[in-house]
Each structure stands twice: as C-alpha cells, then as structure tokens.
Amino acid sequence: MEQPGRTMLDKIWDQHVIFKVSDDTDLLHVDRHLLHDLGGSRGLLDLKSRNLTVHSPELTFATPDHAISSAPGRAGTSKIGLELLAALRLETTASGIQLFDVDQPGQGIVHVIGPELGLSLPGSLIVCGDSHTCTHGGLGALAFGIGSSELTHVLATQALIQRRPKTMRVKFEGKLPLGVTAKDMILALIGHAGVAAGTGYAVEYAGSAIRDLPVEGRFTICNLSIEFGAKMGMVAPDEKTYEYIKGRRYAPEGAMWEQALKAWKQLPSDANAVFDKEITIDVTRIQPQVTWGISPEHVIGVDGNIPDPTTIDDPARRVALETALDYMGLKAGAPIAGTPVDWVFIGSCTNSRLSDLRAAAEVVRGRKVAPGVRAWVVPGSETVKRDAVAEGLDKLFTEAGFEWREPGCSMCLAANGEVVAPGQRSVSTSNRNFIGRQGPRARTHLASPASAAAAAIAGAIADVRTMER
C-alpha cells in the first residue's frame, strides 16, 4: 500500500519533536529565537527573577525595532524607548546573545533581518514574541508568534510546548494582472475567506502564482497569515529560495551548504499529501486591494464601492460594519477611490524590503506628493536602507516630498510614539487597520506599496493602474 503523503508542516514538525507531551502536543526544539526591544529585555529580566539562565544563547538573536524612533539620528526616541534599548543591550550582553544594534548592518525589523542575515532557513523552527513571525515562513520555515510566558519558556529551555495545528493549503493560481502585487493577493484571500478562516491551521501557500513570486513577495504573503487567523504560514522552498539565501551572513557555506540543500529539497509537501482544508484563488480576477474598515477582511478592489450595512442580514456582522464605517468616517455605497488622505506610510514587516521600495519608487518617479499629504518611507532594515540609498531611492523619495526615515516598525503600530493624528486618514503598507492601531482614532487603509505611493501622489485613494507608465 502506498504511504500516506506528508505535508511540509508534518515534516518540519516531526523533525523538531524532543518528546511527546500528549496525543497531539509535543515539546518542540526552537532553532531561532528572535528578541526585540519591546519584549526581549522583559523576558530576560523575567528569567533572571526566577534564577534561570538562557538555555541556548547561540540560537537567540536580538535587535531593537518597536520602540526606537525612525527620525534621522533616532532623535525623539522616548524616555521609555531609550530605557528599553538600554535594557536590551545590558541583558543580551549579560546572557551572551548577539544583538544587532542601531546604525549597524543587521539592525532592523526583526522579520526583515532574520531572512536578510540568513538566520531564517528552510525547515527551521523560528519563534519571536511578535505575531508577524509567520513572515519567515516565506522561506519554508515553521515560524510563529508567541506570548510573554512562552517567550520565557523558550529562553529557559530552547523548546516550546505546542499542539499540532490542522493543515490548510491555499493555492493561488494564474498570472497576476499588471499593478497587482503579493499584498493584493493576500488581502484578497482575507477578504474572501475572513479574518478567522485560518484559526487553528498552519497554512501552506502554493500554486503557480506563489511559485512566480520572488521570495520577498512570499514574505508579504506569509506575513499576513495572522490576519487570516493562522499563526503559521509557509511557502515550500525552491530554487528562488536557495538563491535568496546563498551567501548571506549566517547562511551555511561549502559542504554544510550542500548538506543543508539536500535536506531542504525534501521539505515540500508530498504530491499525495492531504490537507484538512483547501482553498483555491484565481489571481487573474484580483484588483489592487484597499481596506475600508477596521479589520483586514474589510477589503475591496480599489475600483469598488464601500459596503452598505443595511444589506447585511446577520446582526453581529451588520453592527460590525456600522461600527467600522462610523470609525472610518466613510459613507456606505460610495466609491473608495477618491477618498482624501492625510498620511501615507510605506514601511513595516509586511512591505519595507528593497523590492517594496522599488515598486513605490516606480510610481513616485517624476511626480510630487500632493499638497497637504505627509508621506513617510521607513526602510525595514539598515541594510535595506543602505541598498536603497546606493540606488538613489532616498533622493527620489525626498525630491518628490516624502520623508526618508531610519529603519524600524515606526507607524505600523505606533509603539515609538509615531502616530497618525486623531481623525486623520492614512494609507499604509502595514498589516493592521485596527481601531487606534496607528494612533488613537487614526483611520488606516491597508494597501500595497505601489497603491500607497499612488495615494501619496493623488492625495486620495487611487487606482495605481491609471498611473502606471
């Protein structure tokens, strides 16, 4: 009889089992534990207060990203932000943990630097006290966000107790239309299936449109897994993956590279693997997406109209829509395009890599930011920043009227005090349009870097396809 096929999740999971805890729960080895300034020193101090030490500091890496200012020279980092940075430096040094500090190559948003440094690898198990850790799944890693208690557990044991999730495969099939990006693909999926559709699942993204995507686009797809409800999202590694990793600072070399490559090629799900759930999306029908509400599932094509709650039967959903429209200050039934904006934010672990900045720059080139719009570009890492500067992208953006900032999370979650003012409207390349996410009463519309750039130029939500050359 034929052996039942194994999914990529099965293969990576089984590789990491140290011992079985119960029928469906295992103690898993953690290959990479990434710390940031918001929770890193907190976890290390928690450990110290229990008289415990870091189990495997050589598998633990830290960088400040959440609470530091993105202003030139890091001016304006709050007192608390500076305290967190100082504590991260002190505690990582004391524990022998590698820190990628500000202004050094390697610093940046933790989900940008992991892959960039070659720390995140196919088949590896990566955790971080941040829900967007699923981003690293773009390389075929099993990566997920954890809470503070789990973080302390990993520091103390280099392992984590986890219940095996169900498996889902989402196939994106077809050729992406012009002006449509990875961000639009994943937003369209969330709009189609809802923000809870992935709850309890590890999602594998597959299909011809995923294979066609460059690795950085796969990070964007996996990044929004958590907005689909799934804490784990992944893409099978392929030649593009290996090419991306080769030569990076912490990537294996020589004979070890060959050994790793052999193992990585075994990772993709077997052809006869069975998933608990399957969804197929035809990408040829996807428009550039923009959110209109307070949940990532509140999303429509940029040429669409804002939904009308009076047409919704389910009372809970109707109330949710009414709440969203009220918060966003939008009129039911009106076209979303043409909605005036105050802010444009290009950055975050979703869309701050070199390819994202290039896509935005392509729209901005030779144009000016509309009067009254404040527009920021916050590169994802020190390396992204330097590479972009080498290409002249900083000049291109600043000459068009954008502000060019230092790498970090910045206005995605506003932990560093960089906020959109109350009532103001922002088009953002980040991942969450939640109430108050970018500042109290701030109104956020999620979109791709190209769409965000188009909004900056038009001074309103705009269809990037009408601006392409």
Partner: protein, 211 residues
Amino acid sequence: MPKPFTKLSATAAPIMRTNIDTDVIIRIERLVGNGIRGTLGKWAFGSLRYLPDGSENPEFILNREPYREAEILVTGSNFGCGSSREDAVWALQERGIRAVIGSGFGDIFFANCFQNGILPIVVDKKIVDGLAAEVEETQGAGKIGIDLEAQTITSPNGKTHRFEIDPRRRAGLLKGLDEVALTLQRDDEIRVYQAADRNARPWIHFAGKQA
C-alpha cells in the same frame, strides 16, 4: 505561576462585537516599558471604555452596573485576534476577568490565557448567543457558572452546556502548573536532542561559524 482555576459563578458581561483584537483590549502605549504589570487593568478596552476627553463612556458595558464586577466575558467570534501581546490577557486579568466564553479566539491569545490561569471556553455560536441573551434578559443579574472539572457551563436560567478542552490544558489550569519548571525537569532530553541535531543539521547550530 498561574493560580489554579476550578469553579466560578460570576457576573458575565457580553461583548458581542466580532473580531475584537488585542490592540483594542490594550493599546500599545500602555505596554511599552518593563514593570508595567499591575498598571494595565485600568486601560483594558481603553478605546471603548473612555471618551476622547478621558471620562468614562457610560454606554460601554463594563462601565455599567452590575457588569463592572464581571469576572466572565461572553464574546463575539474571533475575540483576541491580532497581536501576540500577552499584555491583553494581563489587562483582562487585572480588570478581574477569569474566564472568556466565545465561539472562537485568536490562536495566540487563546494560548496566552492558559499561561495566566484564565479559562477560554470555546462553544458553539448558538450557545454563546444564548448565554448573552440570558444575561441581558436579567440585566446582568443572572450569573454564569463554570465547572472546569465537570467541563460545564451553567446559564443564568440553569441550562447546562458541556464544553471541550484539551485535557493537558485542563489539568494545567486545575493545578496551576508551572510549565517552565516542568520542562526543565526533562532538560537532559533537550540536551540529547541538541547533541544529535548538531550532527543532523549543523547549519542550525553553527550559524556564522562554519563547523
């Protein structure tokens, strides 16, 4: 180490909006900094509880009697989605919440609850809606009973519903177990795994130092 959870009979507050995210449960600026534990309860649901001028929003359920004393939340679907911040659970806990009942929760929030001795109960949406309706019919006077040992919820009208829970999670809550200490008791097995894995996958263990 979490406090054990066994039985509870308490005022319940229905917060039925769907997809309440952890940013709404606790805003980011309240959790930037070490030593924030004990300061969060006041800011739980801050954007819903307070008006822009800082005064209490009289419309919000936790600002009304008897819901101010609620120890149970009956929630809309996908409560606790979004950010992994465990501070959301701490904020609820500091506000006096000991259990949440809903048709589904954000995965990371769900796990964080158990780490702090808060019981998240997943039951069918019909049961959740029924519990909310019964609580509202009594203007909050009708209490909800939870018995973790028996895995039952008793509604204000005395209807009993069974709920399912991972046996390991249940045992952990009943006893208030410290997972870190339990895992460290078997550290020799972790070390054995790592020793074997250094040979099997050296690229994981010798990052940047080619072995």
